[in-house]
């Protein structure tokens, strides 16, 4: 009899009760998952940080950063724990790292959840627009006014790592709001084989291509050039943007938000032609997916005559354990030279590096500690110590100090490059703009698209992204 009951159909009222219970559970789950309805109340702009640093906690506190995994991240954690602890013994610095390709996603998925496990986001300069528009980071304009000596910086450096809306290249709008302070400056350096092409680096882009061509012909097994071509992160996009700038092109007209007809004008087309038809043939076969590490590996193994890479990622090249160019740092430096980028129609170089930005979702005590850390980090003496520890500072006095200039053979390159820098677009749509450019330049470099078609597609698709803000449906395609 009990068996019959077990397999028998539940009575109608019983089924209704269970259905109602299931529905209620679903609703409860939905309500729980939707949180406290903050989404609907989210502010359209960033919340303001206090103008003065609030009272700091005396309890043990961990100040967490988020960055991508590369040597400067480890250098920052070691430096900050050694030096900042002298002033704030109860504070511990933790730099959480993710793979470069996941860096944007790791930060912005947490921002989307309105809850972050980091207090300071180390954002690429181009991420600022997205973070500010979504209210993810604090507006520190008043804090900077009261605590930071802004005259100690090249105005464009201060603007690039903190200002929104974006500053005009080379300038800073003193009336614009600031959302971050520089952490690590960076730009491209030209790495060249002194033993193969001579001590004097090429001065123009044309000369550089000729030198690479000759070097490749004279040295079988060594490719003329090595540079970023991958379709991940901003690899291929930065390469094209650099050549575009050097050949007098523009990425967009910021005032009219116009890309089509600007990016793919005659200068833009010439830059794409130089990149695909003159530079690409001088690279190693299969280098179409190379980024920072692969370029460094090619240089360290003596497989490239001339290479381009970020200065902050070049330290490993001088490590004899990672190089076949010599058994000591001096032997390696006998063969490797570091120079600012050659110029052609202009002398522009790409702006790299990142700034520090306080998470809007961090606890109040941690936000206060973050502001205190930033004030401490931007002090003249600390910037010089950061330079000596392998970092790239942003204060002019630190950039011109012996601590910085003597710390690495490429540091003079950075100091000389600062007045020549140009950044990409710093708009909320950055992630999509850079993906469009990356994939199309990568396609052109690997023969999947004709250079002209690739550039026209970039201009058309990017313009579509900028123009699609009011489209109903299909955003992101």
């Amino acid at each position: 009899m009990r068996y019959q009951r077990r397999i028998g159909r539940t009575s109608v009222p019983g089924r209704k009760v269970r259905l109602a219970t299931a529905a209620m559970l679903l609703v409860a789950t939905t309500v729980a998952a939707c949180g406290d309805g903050q989404d609907d109340d989210a502010k359209a702009s960033a919340p303001k940080a206090p103008a003065t640093i609030p009272e700091l906690t005396k309890d043990p506190l961990t100040l967490s950063f988020i960055w991508f995994d590369w040597p400067p991240a480890q250098a920052l954690e070691a430096f900050a724990n050694a030096e900042y602890k002298k002033e704030r013994p109860n504070a511990t610095i933790k730099v959480n790292t993710v793979p470069n390709a996941n860096w944007h996603d790791a930060m912005f998925t947490q921002f989307a959840a309105r809850k972050t496990d980091f207090d300071i986001a180390i954002l690429d300069s181009q991420h600022i627009g997205e973070a500010v528009t979504n209210g993810n980071i604090l507006d520190i304009t008043d804090f900077v006014k009261n605590n930071i000596d802004v005259k100690a910086y090249n105005p464009y450096l201060l603007a690039a790592y903190g200002q929104f809306p974006q500053a005009e290249t080379g300038k800073r709008d003193e009336n614009a709001s600031l959302y971050g302070l520089p952490l690590l400056g960076d730009t491209w350096t030209m790495i060249y084989r002194k033993d193969l092409i001579g001590d004097k680096p090429p001065q123009t882009w044309d000369q550089m291509i000729s030198a690479a061509e000759k070097c490749q012909a004279d040295n079988p097994g060594v490719s003329g050039l090595a540079f970023h071509q991958a379709n991940g992160s901003d690899a291929a996009a930065v390469t094209y943007n650099t050549v575009n700038g050097i050949y007098g092109g523009n990425l967009w007209d910021a005032k009219t938000r116009k890309i089509e007809g600007v990016l793919n004008d005659a200068a833009g087309q010439e830059a794409m032609d130089v990149l695909v038809n003159k530079m690409k043939p001088l690279t190693a076969k299969g280098s179409g997916n190379w980024f920072i590490d692969e370029v460094n590996a090619a240089v360290a193994q003596g497989k490239a005559c001339i290479a381009f890479n970020w200065i902050a990622a070049s330290g490993g090249l001088l490590d004899p354990k990672q190089s076949t160019l010599g058994s000591t740092r001096e032997q390696i430096l006998d063969k490797l030279g570091f120079a600012t980028l050659p110029s052609q129609k202009t002398n522009l170089v790409p702006l790299g590096g990142m700034g520090m930005h306080v998470s809007a979702y961090s606890p109040t005590a941690n936000q206060a500690e973050a502001l205190n850390f930033m004030k401490w980090f931007e002090r003249a003496d600390v910037q010089k110590k950061w330079a000596a520890a392998g970092g790239v500072p942003s204060r002019t006095d630190a950039l011109e100090s012996p601590e910085f200039l003597n710390a690495g053979p490429f540091n003079q390159v950075y100091t000389d490059s600062v007045p020549r820098m140009r950044d990409m677009w710093n708009v909320p749509e950055y992630a999509r703009l850079v993906d469009i450019e990356n994939t199309n330049v990568n396609a052109a470099l690997n023969g999947a698209k004709k250079p002209k078609d690739a550039l026209d597609d970039i201009a058309k698709e990017q313009q579509g992204v900028l123009d699609s803000s009011n489209r109903k449906g299909g955003g992101g395609l």
Partner: protein, 316 residues
């Protein structure tokens, strides 16, 4: 001596309630209560982790919601669906995915069945061979992707090194349009052929021996036995394996992410990879939700057709 228990009763509940409880069990917990108690944790988990996200993304798919921008989710009807279905970008990714699914699953089926057929004919070492063939399937796709990325590197990879040793030139496996997609198919085939092999082996082991014995008595050829006995009996099981693999291949993401990142250009971007970009590069959550729902619908519809064909096959 007590009366025998009646075989039928008018009110079964009455008897159940008067039956003595099992030793150690609470008087208040009936069998059904116990069943509900056991099932409810799994049901709650299922509701929270599967049913709710599915319904929530279904709702979001009709809105312009963005996870990072916040703000209200405005209802836009079928706007996202229309945009996806008419997008040339989506059509390109759909074609890439289709080529990949047909190439990878086709190759895996032929190889998997072939290996299973050869193993099934061995009498010694079957277990060891089967275990060895299963090893790739046990590895994480990310690990598989990473070591194949090294092996296929044009400059330093072992594959080109081997080709070079036999006098063949370097091949740009991951950076050329055609070879990149072929590389993905080869790596997926390396990893998932054992799955088809395992299912086919189970089917081959279940074929009754007496059929082969009868065929031998009639002096049937090897090919005749394969065509009229082996293949028809293993076919339905093989088709189920193919269906599982096709669904898996249809939503391929990990290998693409590690091996080619969708390149060169977007030539190896699959539908899943494209959804990832829509969802996380621009945080267009509404569009990404609609995209995901459409992919689920495609799988459900195709699976239904497939299952009907399988049922017909059984009935036949």
């Amino acid at each position: 001596m007590s009366d025998p228990a009646p075989l039928t009763i008018d009110n079964p509940g009455q008897v159940a309630s008067t039956a003595p409880p099992a030793p150690g069990r609470s008087r208040r917990l009936s069998d059904r209560g116990l069943a509900v108690a056991f099932i409810s944790p799994a049901m709650l988990l299922l509701l929270a982790m599967s049913v709710f996200p599915l319904l929530w993304s279904l709702y979001l798919s009709f809105t312009d919601y963005s996870a990072t921008r916040g703000g209200p989710a405005n209802f836009i009807g079928f706007g996202n669906y229309t945009a996806i279905l008419t997008s040339a970008q989506v059509h390109t990714r759909a074609l890439t995915t289709l080529i990949y699914v047909i190439g990878a699953v086709g190759l895996q089926t032929v190889l998997g069945f072939g290996i299973a057929y050869l193993i099934s004919r061995r009498t010694h070492g079957r277990g060891v061979l089967t275990t060895l063939f299963l090893v790739p399937m046990m590895l994480s796709p990310v690990v598989v992707g990473l070591f194949w990325r090294f092996m296929l590197d044009a400059q330093f990879g072992v594959v080109n090194s081997m080709l070079g040793s036999v006098g063949l030139g370097q091949v740009e496996w991951l950076t050329r349009q055609r070879t990149a997609l072929i590389s993905l198919i080869v790596v997926d085939t390396w990893q998932w052929t054992p799955f088809i092999m395992l299912i086919a082996l189970a089917g081959l082991s279940a074929v009754p021996k007496y059929l082969y014995e009868a065929a031998s008595i009639d002096r049937a050829s090897e090919w005749f036995r394969f065509r009229t006995i082996t293949l028809p009996l293993v076919w339905p099981l093989l088709l189920i394996a193919v269906m599982f693999r096709a669904i898996e291949a249809f939503r391929l993401f990990d290998l693409v992410y590690i091996l080619t990142n969708g390149g060169p250009g977007v030539s190896t971007e699959t539908l899943s990879f494209h959804i990832y970009k829509v969802a996380f590069l621009g945080f267009n959550t509404g569009t990404a939700s609609a995209y995901g729902i459409l992919m689920v619908l495609v799988v459900i519809v195709l699976t239904q057709f497939y299952l009907r064909y399988l049922n017909k096959l059984k009935e036949g």
